[in-house]
Symmetry: none
DNA sequence: CATGAATGAGGGTTCATTCAT
DNA sequence: CATGAATGAACCCTCATTCAT
């Protein structure tokens, strides 16, 4: 939501007025509380009341900022996942080989996970018997662009003519699950994870290098 | 309760009496309705009332069979996923090489997905902006056994000394995402998917064979 | 479940047949379970389900014996309190003085309490902040007869012309509360309690004898 | 919550604003409805819904004021019975003899009953076969203090060394039952009742004065 | 008669949402 | 804008009672 767009007639100080600051703080408070609740009970079971309860705000105030919990959730996704897009694109442009290209994608993704663990917790609930993963639209879009790149690489003969559908899915799957494991380590190393994922998918298990360093596991 | 009194002619209370049949039918009706609701709105947002509503039972009847929606959900998992376990074990025992072993695992999993798509729909919700994946405990157990096997293979020098943590995660990720894609195809071929996943993870992208047949995509 | 018994329409053996015995046992089981439940949560909050649950019987069976929880409760009162009536009357007839008469009444009442503590527990609930006392109709009737006797004694000049209304109430109150205390003692002595209550009401505090023996208190 | 922002003209949030008035009225409405229901069916059988139904409030509103029916009940007790405590204490301090002391206690209690009959109705249900009495914690505490005073009097030789346990119980019993009778009279006279109860317990039946006035009875 | 599953009314409680202050 | 009480729908669950077996 572009706050700037709200420019109303008579020059309401839109920049640093105390009012505007409070508004941003309130909005942020709701977003953070919502992230907590979503992470704890899932979006489906979350309630607006519970979100507001973890805030200093009154229940009615919620509706000055959002219209529903889905609305907050979308805002959370937008704020968080969108930030990954430009870097992915940059990585793609900078890549000089298929290896560096794929490894770059993995790395951006893992960096993003590690730097925004709080947000990822929302997408990664362990409730009772279940582990839940959510693919945000942004992620899907990112990986769709990857798919296009792969198809281009195949067209240019850089890659064998494989099932791109399956391949993209497999890459996403590897990214998510390895990313999840990564987050549970005590000192997560996105670079190492990216190297692993790239080596696995490009070279296969048999070509994977020997482990040199022991890694902390949960 | 006088047990002796049950001595009536042809076999007593437990097998084919009308009562017992009705009970099984009711239980099944609840399970099916629950699978529907879970698939539509997720376990978190599902309500017992909604489940019962899709049944011709009275609301209170639900509690003659289950104690909560989580209980139904667990029953769904048990009924469905548990059936995969014996086959996984058989596959493991029959394997003569690391290739056949891993491919066997993938195949059992994909077969299971295809043969029980309804159940998998519960675990695979596309609601609004999200795609949700659930890892059932059974699946985790299955893949944990796989992890042990991998570690044993490493110990015997059959595989390089890689990060088994990451590897297992990656295998699970591939299985899930490729499985998901598989289910969206018009004539899903579990065998082909298993071959793909095995080749990818064992041999890497570069060693993947050329596609021979074009496959219908969604 | 005595299935066999169904076969005999005419000439149901009414005395010692297995059927009749079972019926009595069932009835008794319900009464005892009900006494328990009433004692724990009170008649108002008690539920038939809970009563039946403490029984080996099926829920429907309850209705072969009683029609409601109030019905069971009435049966409990009848069984228990009615037994006190004849003794009270006997005591009254045997009394040769006002002292022996009042003391006799108290003693019958306290004897009854001690010998039937389980029943009295029903009438004496301690739930949360409350101590509840119930006056059964039988008790009221018993004390109303007492009132008549007192009025007669006044008419004959054996007692001063006091407020019989208040006096009867006071006697009932003393009986109930002293009885309650009595029941909480480790070795309750109805005779001592009766002596105390009689001395108090007839002679007043100042005329009460010195305590000779120390009494166990809760 | 910005407290400063509330600085509007005539006094802020806590005293006479329309909101605050309504809140008090609603709370009172619930309390009164609850007293009615409790008096009719008892606390155990009372339902929150029935309480709210006798109010023009919505069902959910109840929970803005209380958390359970027990909570309302406790509020009723607190509002009502606690008010008796200070007067009891005053009476005790002012007493110059054992007679005036005990009579004072009785009088405060009877005054309280008469002046708050509605509240006492809650504690005094006649439903079907039963008459129920409740001893609130406040009353028990009040009488326990009395017990201490009695023990002190015995220590000082002002009273014979009697069973204080029984004596306190007896006093409570007399207070309750005589109080109950008192309330059913058309023009209840707490002073007369207190005199009667004191004379009975201190002097015994035989020492009771002759009745001078006939009293209306129910 | 005993059984125990089915029924649906009803009670407890939470919730999203509104709106006077 | 913020507040937070009121609202009533809807949820969870238990219950009394019936009735086919």
């Amino acid at each position: 939501m572009d706050q700037a767009a709200k420019n109303q007639p008579e020059a309401s100080t839109d920049n640093g007025s105390k009012r505007e600051i409070t508004k941003l703080q309130n909005r942020q408070a709701i977003l953070e509380a919502a992230a907590e609740v979503f992470a704890e009970v899932g979006v489906g079971a979350a309630s607006i009341r519970e979100i507001v309860r973890r805030t200093d705000l009154a229940s009615g105030t919620f509706y000055n900022y959002f219209t529903s919990k889905e609305d907050v959730f979308q805002a959370l996704l937008d704020e968080s996942a969108l930030s990954m897009r430009p870097e992915l694109k940059a990585e793609r442009l900078a890549a000089t080989s298929i290896e560096s290209f794929i490894e770059g994608c993995f790395r951006v993704f893992f960096d993003y996970l590690v730097s925004d663990q709080a947000m990822f917790a929302v997408l990664r609930r362990n409730s009772g018997a279940l582990r839940v993963r959510m693919h945000t639209p942004q992620m899907l879009v990112a990986f769709e662009e990857l798919e296009e790149d792969i198809e281009r690489a195949i067209g240019q003969g850089l890659l064998p003519d494989i099932d791109t559908d399956f391949l993209t899915s497999a890459l996403i799957g590897v990214a998510f699950e390895v990313g999840d494991r990564l987050l549970r380590r005590q000192s997560p190393d996105p670079r190492e994870a990216a190297r692993f994922a790239t080596a696995l998918t490009l070279g296969g298990v048999k070509a994977l290098p020997l482990k040199k360093t022991s890694v902390a596991k949960t």
